[in-house]
Amino acid sequence: MECEHIENLLSSYLEDELAAEDKRAVEKHLASCAGCSVLFDLLRETQESLAEFPQAEISEALLERLYEIPQRKRKFRLNLDFLVRPAVQPYLAVATVLLTVVSFYLFNPEKSAIDRSINRQIHLGYSKIGKLYSEAETFTASLGEHKDNILETIKSKQPFGRNGD
């Protein structure tokens, strides 16, 4: 128990930070306890060797990678700069409108009703086209029937200006 208490004070004792009473207690214990005395010597040895650890040498490759970090960040920023050019603004405006319309359609809670309405309009368009097509066919057929009469009428007419000869 006492050894454990003394262990907690060893660094402060080593660095001469203990109050006089604690210092005397540590010295007394170290003089009588071989285990703690060895431990204290090793603690001092540990601290001295740690103080001599050098700064590690950094590799050239790592240094280059570190120098590149701000440049990479700058490049990334330049790549986005084109977005603020005035010439790009009309395209961005069109893209915004399109996105708004598309998202209005895609995320509209009445999407199925809109789909039905669009289908109905498409069908109406198709039937109008079909109707026009059949009317055109009827007209072509009636032209075919009256083709001979029309040709006769044209032939019987005197060309312009001959009546006066």
């Binding site: 540990t46 001599e52 590690a56 970090i69």
Partner: protein
């Protein structure tokens, strides 16, 4: 420039903490990325060194907890370039180098917070007050962690010496 001033210090801290060059290089790069991303948030009334070391410390400990480095082995101590200990005789220099090697390997026995406190105090040479600021801990807690770390490392040395002496 930030890289010139701080890269060696951050790399050393990462290497001492993680124990492998590969991890330390990745960590240093990630810390600098974070640094550039957080520069705008820096409060100029604060000490920049302490702020950067806090950022590095947070990143290293978070990664340590996420990836469990303690299960990995550390690089051989020979790969760590030693400062010349010219004031010692050749025999003492060999013994001191042997102790450093054991202490280096002993770091794997320390928890992340204790390991960081010991590195900042004893290798990086910070005062207890500076370590407390970097680790955002009360002074007493820092002193206690540094002492526990040193005692644990001393016990590792003791065990190894006892094994060698056949005890």
């Amino acid at each position: 420039m930030l890289v010139n001033t701080y890269s060696r210090r951050i790399f050393s801290l990462s290497y001492q903490f993680s124990g492998t060059r590969e991890e330390a290089e990745d960590m240093t790069q990630e810390i600098f990325l974070k640094l550039y991303n957080s520069l705008k948030k820096f409060d100029f009334s604060r000490n920049f060194d302490a702020w950067l070391l806090t950022l590095a410390r947070n990143h290293l400990i978070d990664e340590y907890r996420r990836t469990k480095w303690e299960k990995k082995t550390r690089d051989e101590f020979d790969e760590y370039r030693l400062k010349e200990t010219t004031e010692l005789g050749p025999e003492d220099a060999i013994l001191r180098e042997e102790t450093k090697k054991r202490v280096w390997e002993g770091f794997n026995h320390l928890s992340a917070d204790i390991r960081m406190a010991v590195i900042l105090r004893d290798i990086q040479g910070k005062t207890y007050e500076e370590v407390a600021e970097i680790m955002d801990l009360p002074l007493g807690t820092v002193k206690s962690r540094v002492n526990r770390g040193r005692v644990q490392l001393a016990k590792v040395l003791k065990e190894q010496k006892e094994k060698e002496n056949g005890m």
